[in-house]
Structures are given as structure tokens and as C-alpha cells.
């Protein structure tokens, strides 16, 4: 087929091109005319309308902050709520002389130097047409006094605002967290997430804990109204209103009463306790002692309180349950025993003879047992009951670090549990690879020996140990620990319960489990290391004590508790689950500088278990009731 070929016809082509160029010019002129028409419409015909709007921006769009969702415990006890109070607020660009105005105001209402300082800081962070509080929580008297003289203060208004309150103060602070004023970097983040519009009118944002993690649920949707204002900036009338949508209420898995009992049981000790329902991963108690009062942080903490909290040797701001990393000590022995059975390195009936120390073949170095002279003939059951170190020195050496690493990793050691809180740390489960990377050294046989009794490189958080205990209690079936039980929608009051997903199943041998668990029960019975804490319990519970060294002892040196300064005393561990046959609660307790697990940590666990299993409340217990009294008014 012959193709039709268009030969170049320059004249025609240029003619065509110019025609199209002319059309384009027409198109350009048409669009410019449309623009011009729009300008004439806006700037001539509608000019007076927009003039009115712009005049002092008469129509202002006022955001209405939504009320933040409540935080409740599993039984409906309020852990964080809002109350309404009056604030005295100043809009800077409507005030002529700020200092004079504040001085005059100070004659009517109580304005402390601290209030002025805080206001100054707010001024620096905010735009000048926003209304900012000079005083929060006015008394009725003050409201009345100001209202009578309001005419003297253009640009100053009384506003009803919602305030957050944490009725439990120091208790549960590490879990619930707190909200605080939104800062620059949070504004930048909100803008990046295209959420800034929803935070116009919001002064606060979740900073830590549940308040931070579930900010999206708790905050709600900001409403707004178009209002006409007079020259003094006061609202004349509302033109339209889109109501805000309150944030959702959160029901936590925590049992506030159990939490209170646990906190109380610590007395003056520092430490942490995490209790988990092994059958679904619900966290029942989450304690980090000491706590702090989250209410202090809401409106910016004053310098003195901050210094007290921040410089305290007790580090109350540190969430020990989530971020504290400690040597696990003997609490790892039940897991080591399981590993020994799993890898066929130990049979249940196999016994060793314990002379009170262990030496690696070809080495003279003695790894000592905690009991001088040793435990004599020890099998696997007894090794847990009396917490025999020598047994585990040998077992660890035979298992080798690679097996230990892979077995423990499956129990979640050295990994974040994935709990719904920000800032979790992963602890440390050492391996050959890790040591090469971190210390640029090869792994030595001696390293394995110390790992075997939890005094080597390994570090765990109380949360991790509680999780591992829960996995053990539930026969190797793991549920991720979580704090949120259900979300109650504020709009429909519909409840959506969170599904608890099976995390994994370790598929452990039932006989191995039964043996280790029975040994852990024997720990709490006469002859066991926690016999005192277990005495008289009408239910069977499984436990294991542990001691984490704070300072290293030299070869041949003796650890004498009374001679060592309190801060250098060993940390005490106790892990437990109950009832032993059908576990409903699994927990880990750490008492900093508590000495032995049996004397300080185990009794705390016992009190928690007594309440949880029997409903027994230790005496005296005032804190929780007092706190509930606050919540009612």
C-alpha cells in the first residue's frame, strides 16, 4: 500500500501555526477577562461585604475544642477525667498596654508571679490574636468580682474551659501518662500529618503513656462556630455552629484496685511490677515505683517541682516497668531448665553433684554457688526449688550460647513485647554475633556460664519477664501484652472490644512443662526459696526468686548485706503465676536494692495474688479509697 506523504509546505504550515497562535491569544484574553470580571465582582460589587468581614476581621471562626475521652480501668473506675473551670484570658492584639492591664487585673483576682511567667511563655509560643489564659481555675468569688468590672478590661474575658485531672495522682502515673501544652515540634508533626486543623482550639496533647499512645482516640474532632464580634473582640452573635465530637473513652485492662494494692505493697521500696492475664495478654497491673503526680505537668510544671522530680536519686520519672533493664538473675532458671529438656541435655532424673562451685574444663576459675558447700545431689526439680547455681553453670556450658539464645528469644527475651506504650526498650539477650559487634570480642566459654544464672550480659525489663512468665504459665501460647481493653465511642456509645490475637505458640512438650511448673510450685512451699512468702496460701502458686547483682564481687570476696550501702544492694526479683493449674495471673516483681528475691519481692507478689485470687485486701489500705473520694466530687 502506498502511503500518502504530506510534503513540507512551509507557507501553509506557518499560516496554520499563526492561526493557532491567534486562537491561543484569544483564549488568553478570554481567561484574563474572566479574572478581571472576578476582581470587579469581589472588589467593586461585593466590596462593602468583604470590607465588613475584614474590618477587624469581624467574622471570626472560633474553634470549639472537643472534650477529651475518659480513661477508665477494667471495672469502670475513672483514671483520667475532665472538669470544667473558669479561666481569665487575654487576647493580646485587643489590649493596649499589657503590663498595665495585668497589674489592674491583679487587684481583682489573685495573680502570682508564676502566673505571669507562664503567661509570658505562652505569649512567645502563640500568635497575638489568640486568647491566652493568665489565670486558670478561678474561684466563684473571683469570677463575680471580674464580671462586675469587666467593662474596664477590653480584650480580657472569662472563659469556661475543660481541664484534665488524674484522680490517682502518683498511682498509675507511668501507665496513664499525662497531657501537656502542645509544643513547637508537636505542631510541626501535626502539620505534617495534616492534623493541624483538628488541633486549632486544642491546647493540650498526650505526652506520655496511654494519653500519648491513644491520642487519636482520645482527642476527638474539633468543632467551630462563625461568630460576629464587636470592636472590643467580644462575641455579638453566633452565625453558624458545627459542634465538636468528643473523644472516645478508653477502657483499660488494668484493675485499679489491684494496681493500688501492688503500689502499696512496695512500701518505700523502688521497683516495678507487671501482672498479665496469661490467657489473653491483658495487663492487670503495671506499677513503677516511685511515681509522680501527672497533674503537675498539665499546665507546665513549675521549676521547683521539676527539679525535685528530675534530680531525685529515685528517678521517679523513669518508667521502670517499661524501660528499666536489669539482670534477670535466677528467674531465668525455669527457662534454662526447659531449654535443657528441649535440647536433650538434661533428663528429668539426671542428677549432678554440687560441691558448691563449678569450673570449666581445664580452668581453675571457680564459679561459686550462692550456697557455700553446695546443695549435694541435685536433679532438675531440685535445681529450681533450691535455685542451685552449679546445676545451671554446667547446663549452660553444655547447651552453648547459640541454643540458649534461640530458645530465650522465642520467649521474647531481648525483644520488645510490643505493648501499647511508647518508649519500650528491648533488654538484651546476648549472642556471639552481638558480642562481636558490640565489644569487638569473641564469645568466651565463661560468658556462657554467667548467662546460665542470669548474671551475664543478659538484661530484661520487668514487662519482659512478666510476659515470659505468662507464656510459661499458658504452656507456651503467647498473647501480646496490651493495656487497651475497649474503646467506647463518644458518638454512639458503642463499645468496640479489642480482639486479642494469638501471637505465637511455642509448642512446648507437655511433660517438660509439667515438671518445671511443679518445681516452681515447690519453690513457694516448705523447702523452697520462697517458702516464707508462700506460707499459708490456700491456693497453689508457682514462683521463682531471683537476685540481680548491682556490683560485682571479686573472687573469694563475700557478700555481706549489712555492710553494703543501700544503693549497692542487689535487686530482688520474683516471678509467679497462680493458680498453678489454671493460671489467671502471671507477674514479675522487681525491687531495686531489695536484697534477696525471697525477702522483699516475693511478699509483694503474695499480696497481689491474695487480692486477685481471694479478694483479700491487706490492711491498712487508704490510698485507693481516698482517691475514689476525689473522683466523686
Amino acid at each position: 500500500m502506498k502511503r500518502h506523504i504530506e510534503f513540507k509546505d512551509t507557507q501553509r504550515e506557518i499560516h496554520n501555526f499563526r492561526l493557532r497562535l491567534g486562537l491561543s491569544l484569544g483564549f488568553v484574553l478570554l481567561l484574563l477577562l474572566i479574572l478581571l470580571a472576578r476582581f470587579v465582582y469581589l472588589q467593586v460589587i461585593q466590596q462593602s461585604h468583604y470590607q465588613t468581614l475584614a474590618e477587624n476581621n469581624r467574622i471570626s471562626i472560633v474553634p470549639i475544642a472537643p472534650s477529651r475521652g475518659l480513661i477508665l480501668d477494667r471495672n469502670g473506675v475513672v483514671l483520667a477525667h475532665n472538669y470544667s473551670a473558669y479561666t481569665l484570658e487575654i487576647t493580646l492584639n485587643k489590649v493596649i498596654d499589657l503590663k498595665a492591664t495585668i497589674d489592674e487585673l491583679a487587684k481583682i483576682v489573685d495573680i502570682q508571679p508564676g502566673d505571669r511567667k507562664r503567661f509570658k511563655r505562652l505569649l512567645a509560643d502563640n500568635r497575638k490574636f489568640e486568647s491566652l489564659p493568665i489565670r486558670n481555675r478561678l474561684t466563684d468569688n473571683e469570677v463575680a468580682r471580674f464580671s462586675a468590672q469587666r467593662y474596664r478590661f477590653p480584650g480580657v474575658e472569662i472563659k469556661a474551659r475543660l481541664f484534665r485531672e488524674y484522680p490517682y495522682h502518683e498511682q498509675i502515673s507511668h501507665l496513664v501518662g499525662y497531657i501537656g501544652r502542645i509544643n513547637e515540634s508537636e505542631i510541626a508533626q501535626l502539620e505534617e500529618d495534616e492534623m493541624a486543623a483538628n488541633y486549632r482550639g486544642s491546647d493540650y496533647i498526650g505526652k506520655t503513656g496511654i494519653e500519648q499512645k491513644y491520642e487519636g482516640e482520645l482527642h476527638g474532632k474539633t468543632g467551630f462556630q462563625q461568630v460576629e464580634v464587636d470592636a472590643g473582640g467580644r462575641e455579638v452573635r453566633v452565625l453558624s455552629r458545627t459542634p465538636p465530637v468528643s473523644g472516645n473513652n478508653l477502657v483499660l485492662t488494668i484493675d485499679a484496685k489491684l494496681q493500688g494494692i501492688a503500689e502499696q505493697a512496695f512500701g518505700n521500696y523502688r521497683g516495678a511490677l507487671v501482672a498479665i492475664d496469661p490467657s489473653n495478654g491483658e495487663v492487670l497491673a503495671f506499677v513503677s515505683k516511685p511515681g509522680y503526680d501527672p497533674n503537675l505537668f498539665i499546665d507546665g510544671i513549675d521549676e521547683q517541682s521539676w527539679n525535685e522530680l528530675n534530680n531525685s536519686p529515685d528517678v521517679p520519672l523513669n518508667n521502670r516497668a517499661l524501660r528499666g533493664q536489669y539482670s534477670p538473675g535466677s528467674t531465668i532458671k525455669p527457662f534454662m531448665a526447659l531449654a535443657g529438656l528441649h535440647y536433650n541435655k538434661r533428663a528429668p532424673g539426671h542428677t549432678i553433684s554440687d560441691p558448691g562451685y563449678f569450673s570449666l574444663p581445664g580452668s581453675r576459675h571457680q564459679y561459686r554457688d550462692w550456697k557455700k558447700g553446695g546443695h549435694g545431689s541435685v536433679d532438675l526439680f531440685k535445681s529450681i526449688v533450691v535455685s542451685c547455681d552449679t546445676y545451671y553453670y554446667g547446663l549452660a556450658t553444655e547447651l552453648g550460647i547459640d541454643n540458649i539464645f534461640s530458645f530465650f528469644s522465642e520467649f521474647g527475651f531481648g525483644k520488645k513485647t510490643g505493648i501499647d506504650l511508647e518508649g519500650e526498650v528491648s533488654g538484651l539477650m546476648p549472642s556471639q554475633e552481638w558480642k562481636q559487634k558490640r565489644h569487638k570480642q569473641k564469645w568466651y566459654a565463661g560468658d556462657t556460664v554467667s548467662v546460665g544464672i542470669g548474671q551475664g550480659y543478659n538484661l530484661v525489663t520487668p514487662l519482659q519477664l512478666a510476659y515470659a512468665t505468662a507464656i510459661l504459665a499458658n504452656d507456651g501460647i503467647a498473647y501480646r501484652p496490651h493495656l487497651l481493653k475497649e474503646v467506647q465511642s463518644s458518638r454512639t456509645s458503642e463499645k468496640s472490644t479489642l480482639k486479642t490475637n494469638l501471637e505465637f505458640n511455642l509448642k512446648l512438650n507437655a511433660e517438660h512443662l509439667a515438671l518445671v511448673k511443679s518445681a516452681m510450685v515447690a519453690v513457694t512451699q516448705p523447702g523452697g526459696t520462697a517458702a516464707m512468702a508462700g506460707a499459708g496460701a490456700p491456693y497453689a502458686f508457682a514462683g521463682k526468686t531471683g537476685t540481680a547483682q548491682v556490683i560485682g564481687m571479686k573472687q573469694g570476696e563475700k557478700y555481706i548485706e549489712s555492710k553494703i550501702q543501700e544503693r549497692y544492694r542487689d535487686h530482688a526479683w520474683f516471678m509467679a503465676f497462680a493458680p498453678s493449674d489454671q493460671p489467671k495471673i502471671a507477674l514479675a516483681v522487681l525491687v531495686e536494692n531489695g536484697g534477696h528475691g525471697s525477702s522483699t519481692a516475693a511478699p509483694i507478689a503474695r499480696k497481689v495474688l491474695d487480692y486477685f485470687i481471694l479478694g483479700k485486701v491487706p490492711q491498712p489500705l487508704l490510698t485507693v479509697d481516698e482517691a475514689e473520694g476525689v473522683e466523686n466530687d
Binding site: 461585593q46 468581614l53 492584639n93 502539620e191 495534616e194 467551630f224
Partner: protein, 365 residues
């Protein structure tokens, strides 16, 4: 004597008419920027630096003979495509969009490069097949356009995608694509609207919905439009006077040194000011048309026409969005808004126009 000859050589490839009108617009930019930034001299100085850099780029391109430009078309286009694909895979995400590429020293936005590269490539392609243009050629040219546009739209950067699509369309139109093909394109475009809607990102839909009813989102993006319209409208015929715009100076206007700078100008200088600005733009565009009409080769005609029309499109889209007849798509007001990249891209374009105009003259004489 030598000094004079040096000067003559220096200005030989500059077009005085175009240069003067561009200069006036840039002067307006500095004046408005001073007001929009709240009297911030650093902003003004930074913009001056932008202008100087862009002018240098203009001068270099204006002095480049045209075959240099043609030779650059394919490599620049390919480079742009490679960078765009790299962005799709390794780009950095900011504000929910993947537009920037980290090249070690700095981050670059390859879509900016494509603003010039796409029309350049298309014009080059048409020039190459000038002897016998068939439907197939138009089809290939369209493909050369749609590939980068699709990549940019997916980033997502709808504003840039639309503007590049427009600049490419102008090349097609001026290259003489038949009316029938254009009409069928239009029909296909209309028919694919529902599909296109479904591929848009939420925030893009949001912006389009908002155009229909800005009050819907009075706290978020609608706020920008509402406040901008108030600023323009309240300016009236004569404006509120320089540095007296209440909307501007009471912080009601968003992004007032960049995308919304026209609202500042319009509030302070009123309808009269708008007329002056429109006239300046029209003057630049008219000069662009004259250069286009007199361009000597097919390639230069297409290129000059596309540059001129694209410049107009920028101005129209920005003023339309600020005055509330177009959605907010994030296009700066050409030559006025604060910003280095767009300044350089624009003046590069005008450099090409001048090169097209002056090199032809030299050939003739």
C-alpha cells in the same frame, strides 16, 4: 571603545522589551514581599539573591545557540525521567507526598526539571519528524508527555502534573494536532473523570470538594481560601494602601509570601493594582507571542509558544485560586512569589525565548 563592545556583546542576546517588563514584575515582587513578610528585609534580600541567580541562568541560556538547546532535549528529558523513577522508589516523603530525592549534598525535586524538559523534548520530537507528521507522531508525543505527568501525579503533586500537562498540550496544539483528535481526547477525558476521581488521594479530593464549598472546612484548607477572598474583596478599587492590609498584617492570611502573595498585593493595591499587574503579565505574554510568531524554525516556534502559554497558565491558575475560582493546587504566582526554584525555572524559559529571538536575527543579518 572596547568597554562598549564588551557591553554590546553582553547584551546582544537580551531582548530589551521582554527584559524591561520582567524587571517591572520582579520589582513588584520585592515591594510586595517586603509587606507580605511583615517588613522582613532578610526575606527581601533572599529573594534578590534568587533573582540574581535566575538572571544569570537567563543570560547563559539566552546566549546559547539554538542547536545547543535542541541537543540538550533528549538527555535532559531522560535524566528527568530517571530521577522521577528514582523518586518513586527512593524518594523522601514529606507532607504525605514523595517528591524529593536525596542526592547526598541536597534534596532535589525532579518534577521542577520536567517543567522545561517535557516541552523541550516534545518540540524536539516534532522538529525531527517535521517532514511528515502522521497521527502516530502525535501519539508518541502524547506518550512522551503522559509518562512524566502520570509519575508526578502519583507522587502526588497534582498542581505540577496539571501544569506540565498543560505545557505539553500547548506543544501538541501548536504542532497542529487535528481538531478531531483533540475533541475525541476531550470526550475520553470526560468519560474517565469518575475513574480519575477514584485514583485521587483523599486530600486532593478534599481540595476539589472544598472549591465547591470552602465553608465546609473552615478551620483547615477552606480557611485559606476564605481569608484570601476576604483580603482581595476588602481591597476595593484603590486598595488599603501599601503596608496597610489588615488581613495581611493581622496574620489572617496563610502562606502569604508564597502561594497567596497575590492576596496581599490585591488587598493593598486594589482593583487598580490588579489591572496594572494583569497588564504587565499581558505585556510579557504579548511579547512572547510576537517572538513565537517570528521564530525561524519549527522547534523554536513550538518551544516559544509553549513557554509563553505556560507562563500565562501559571499566572492564571494562581490568581484564580487566590480569588476563589480555581482549587488550591499549590502554584506560586510567577515572578512574584518568594522562592528560588520557580524563579530559576521561569527565567530559564525567558532566556530561551530571548535566545530564540536573537539568534534568529543573527542568522538573518
Amino acid at each position: 571603545m572596547t568597554r562598549r563592545r564588551l557591553w554590546q556583546r553582553f547584551v546582544a542576546h537580551l531582548d530589551p522589551v521582554l527584559l524591561a517588563s520582567l524587571g517591572l514584575l520582579l520589582l513588584v515582587s520585592l515591594v510586595v514581599l517586603y509587606s507580605a513578610s511583615g517588613g522582613n528585609w532578610f526575606r527581601v534580600l533572599a529573594q534578590m539573591t534568587n533573582i540574581l541567580v535566575a538572571c544569570a541562568a537567563l543570560w547563559i541560556v539566552a546566549n546559547m545557540p539554538l542547536h545547543y538547546l535542541m541537543r540538550a532535549a533528549v538527555p535532559v528529558y531522560l535524566l528527568g525521567m530517571v530521577l522521577l523513577i528514582a523518586v518513586a522508589f527512593f524518594g523522601e516523603i514529606a507532607h504525605g507526598a514523595r517528591r524529593w530525592l536525596n542526592v547526598g549534598v541536597t534534596t532535589i525535586q525532579p518534577s521542577e526539571l520536567m517543567r522545561i524538559a517535557v516541552p523541550l523534548m516534545m518540540a524536539w520530537y516534532f522538529e525531527k519528524h517535521e517532514a511528515m507528521l502522521t497521527l502516530k507522531n502525535y501519539f508518541v508525543a502524547t506518550l512522551l508527555l503522559l509518562l512524566p505527568v502520570a509519575l508526578i501525579a502519583r507522587q502526588p503533586d497534582l498542581g505540577t502534573a496539571i501544569l506540565i500537562a498543560a505545557s505539553g498540550f500547548y506543544v501538541l496544539f501548536l504542532a497542529g494536532i487535528s481538531w478531531r483528535v483533540m475533541l475525541s481526547f476531550l470526550v475520553i477525558l470526560m468519560a474517565s473523570m469518575p475513574f480519575a476521581w477514584s485514583t485521587l488521594h483523599d486530600y486532593q479530593r478534599h481540595r476539589i470538594m472544598m472549591l465547591l464549598d470552602p465553608a465546609q472546612d473552615a478551620l483547615g484548607r477552606g480557611y485559606h481560601t476564605i481569608q484570601a477572598i476576604i483580603a482581595v474583596g476588602s481591597g476595593g478599587i484603590f486598595g488599603k494602601g501599601y503596608l496597610n492590609g489588615t488581613q495581611t498584617h493581622l496574620d489572617f492570611l496563610p502562606e502569604r509570601t508564597t502561594d497567596f502573595i497575590f492576596a496581599v498585593y490585591s488587598e493593598e493595591f486594589g482593583l487598580i493594582g490588579n489591572l496594572i499587574l494583569l497588564s504587565l503579565y499581558l505585556f510579557v505574554i504579548a511579547r512572547g507571542f510576537v517572538i513565537t510568531a517570528n521564530a525561524s524554525t519549527y522547534f523554536t516556534r513550538l518551544m516559544a509558544g509553549s513557554i509563553t502559554l505556560t507562563f500565562f497558565t501559571y499566572a492564571f491558575v494562581n490568581m484564580g485560586m487566590v480569588s476563589g475560582i480555581l482549587p488550591v493546587v499549590g502554584v506560586p504566582l510567577p515572578l512574584i512569589s518568594y522562592g528560588g526554584t520557580s524563579m530559576v525555572t521561569l527565567l530559564l524559559g525567558f532566556g530561551m525565548l530571548m535566545s530564540i529571538h536573537t539568534h534568529k536575527k543573527l542568522v538573518q543579518t
